[in-house]
């Protein structure tokens, strides 16, 4: 009997497939990120839109790298079976790196927001990688999604509220 394999090389060549889905949603994410980042006590600040927008964009890119690049490569070594969980783990690592990058320039609400953006995006993108593997069953993916999507969406909503709210708190 012939059995399938899923080596690190076979997983790595699939990464561009995952990344190729992203340009269209990223366009809308960019618009939203810079718009929301500019909202503050001055109603709207172009300066904040640029500087805070770049920080939020870094968190988004961190989520992409953690979920669509690191999770496929490190797949068998990341704890858990659900891909959304694996993506959350890589997202926590990437999100922590983003926070270290901006250390000193963030208040705690902003730090929470950036971490939640990275973890939410990473978890979703890792979950989407189920479509590229030769061992995940559609029934399993659907079960995983019913649990994970509300949590991922919740993380992103909390992140956005915290990010905009921080501009008024700080």
């Amino acid at each position: 009997m012939r059995q399938v394999t899923f080596s690190i090389l076979e997983r790595t060549v699939l990464i561009p497939v995952e990344l190729s889905h992203l340009p269209k949603p990223t366009f809308w994410v960019l618009l939203a990120v810079f718009f929301l980042s500019g909202i503050g006590t001055n109603i709207f600040s172009l300066n904040d839109a640029w500087y805070r927008g770049l920080m939020a964009l870094t968190a988004y890119v961190g989520g992409i790298l953690a979920g669509a690049v690191a999770a496929p490569i490190l797949l068998p070594w990341i704890p858990g079976r659900a891909f959304a969980l694996k993506g959350a783990f890589t997202g926590i690592v990437a999100g922590s790196a983003v926070l270290l990058l901006f250390k000193g320039g963030l208040i705690w609400i902003e730090a929470v927001a950036l971490l939640f953006i990275t973890v939410g995006i990473s978890s979703y993108l890792a979950m989407n990688f189920t479509g590229s593997t030769p061992y995940t069953s559609p029934s399993g993916v659907e079960k995983e999604m019913r649990r994970a999507i509300p949590l991922q969406a919740g993380a992103v909503v909390i992140a956005l509220v915290a990010w905009v709210g921080a501009a008024f708190a700080g």
Binding site: M1, H21, R81, G131, P134, T136, M145
Partner: protein
Amino acid sequence: MENFRYLEGVTTLQLDLEACVGCGVCELVCPHAVFQMNGKKAEIGDPDGCMECGACAQNCAAGAIRVTPGVGCASYIIQTWIKGKEAASCSSSECC
């Protein structure tokens, strides 16, 4: 593949032992060694290894195997939730 195990207790795979003629094709075509022969009948030895590819059901001449095959990526499943299974497409611009 031993390093890779997905969620347990989710597969739609079913084997009708009465209809099974024991040809062994399911054991041959399954990429995850889910089936094994037990005397003159097949048996599902490792149901949690099933990825629901549908190769066994498609190749079972006796029609003894039932499974709901499909695409397991999140984008496609979200499409089936929104548009329904008939309208969802695996090769649309919203999918790979």
